[in-house]
Amino acid sequence: MKKQNAASIEQRTQAVRDALVEQGLVTESDLATFAHMPEDWKPENGAAVVARAWTDPEFRQRLLADATAACAELGYKGPQGEYIVALEDTPAQHNVIVCTQCSCTAWPVLGLPPDWYKSPEYRARVVREPRRVLKEMGLDLSPDIAVRVWETSAETRYMVIPLRPAGTEGFSEEALAALVSREALIGVAMASQPTGQRVI
């Protein structure tokens, strides 16, 4: 591939778009719909699922038994969410998700994956040296904690249920959900510690 001769990626994208639309194979309206669809898929959805699991033991049980159905209870379903499995962290075991061969992710509850998740760096390294990767990303795990790396090689889509932070007794679901980042749902971060100001 002679990069210097290649049209810009903007030009190439426009070329495919124009060719499909002019031939009537897709419409502008189709493309607008699909381009905006990801706005409904966001890590706030997964955070809400986690907060519900932290506060509702029966929901937690349903989530662990059938995360697809449990997420659908809260309205979170759709493409790349056909078979969701929730991975619950414990004080003895930490879970982290990757897709080494492409970048599969549970879109309805995690959103489209961030650039770092799609990078060759993350995909190559986290299955081989997860502790080093997590440490570089700010999560220094004790050797006493087992690390399980989940490779999204088939159709299961995973989400992590991080440990509920200490000092959050009595927090509302909304306040708890605010502690759960996309990175925590993938397993490269813990849920955030509540800030000094108590939110209820």
């Binding site: 591939m1 990069k3 001769n5 290649a6 049209a7 810009s8 990626i9 903007e10 030009q11 190439r12 994208t13 426009q14 070329a15 495919v16 778009r17 124009d18 060719a19 499909l20 194979l25 897709v26 493309l31 719909t33 699909f34 381009a35 669809m37 990801p38 706005e39 078979y83 499995v85 080494t100 061969q101 492409c102 489209l112 961030p114 650039d115 770092w116 990078s119 060759p120 760096e121 995909r123 190559a124 299955v127 081989r128 040296e129 997860p130 502790r131 990767v133 570089e136 990303m137 087992a146 690390v147 399980r148 790396v149 490779e151 999204t152 090689s153 088939a154 159709e155 299961t156 990175e183």
Partner: protein, 211 residues
């Protein structure tokens, strides 16, 4: 295929940088590329998701590694639209005003000869070994686990077998299994003693370990 996409365990990559408050798309063309990927599969019905994944795998390796994720999305989609006869490579290049690098062709013998497994052969707790197959086409058993033994943690529902779906093979569905491999076994001398990698593997990719 033993291609550049099968990155798990490859060494020499650097730090991972997390962008705070990353937007869904950084550039408008990325949203268009995503929409084109989606529309090609569900509106044009040009190809299925397994063909799509394999099309990205077939990108020139140097192009693959230096491309933005959505450049891979666009290249994989455009390549299939050309291969399936919906668009022409010449027209795309003319419209783009320059070269339009596409994926390389599918290998001539892309599939390993694996008999279908319509009934689940394994249970939770079983020890299994990943076959040491090396098909030249689409396969979702990463190289890093081939030949290794693991334990079945979970049996998932049946899903379409990707090797067949990507290469026009007869439709077949098989259970997949979450198979746990000890990191120490995958990466001798490196992995933490308590650590493991769980890979989601179709029944056909596995064989029973004799006890």
């Amino acid at each position: 295929m033993d291609g550049i996409h099968d990155l798990g365990g490859m060494q020499g990559f650097g730090e991972i940088s997390v962008e705070a408050d990353e937007p869904i798309f950084h550039e408008p063309w990325q949203a268009t590329a995503f929409a084109l990927m989606f529309a090609s599969q569900v509106v044009v019905r040009s190809h299925n998701v397994d063909e799509y994944r394999h099309s990205i795998e077939r990108m020139n390796p140097a192009h693959y590694l230096q491309a933005d994720y959505y450049e891979r999305v666009l290249t994989g989609t455009a390549s299939l639209l050309v291969e399936k006869g919906h668009l022409s490579a010449e027209d795309l290049a003319a419209r783009a005003g320059g070269a339009f690098p596409l994926s390389r062709p599918v290998a001539s013998s892309p599939m390993a000869d694996l008999p279908p497994q319509p009934e689940p052969r394994f249970d939770v707790g079983d020890r299994v070994r990943v076959l040491t197959i090396k098909p030249a086409g689409h396969v979702r058993a990463p190289q890093f686990c081939r030949g290794h033994e693991g334990t079945v943690l979970h049996r998932a529902p049946k899903f379409g077998f990707p090797d067949a779906a990507a290469h026009g093979g007869s439709r077949r569905k098989e259970h997949t299994y979450h198979v746990e491999f000890a990191s120490r076994d995958l990466w001798p001398g490196e992995g933490g003693a308590k650590d493991s990698v769980v890979v989601d593997l179709w029944d056909s990719y596995l064989e029973a370990v004799k006890k």
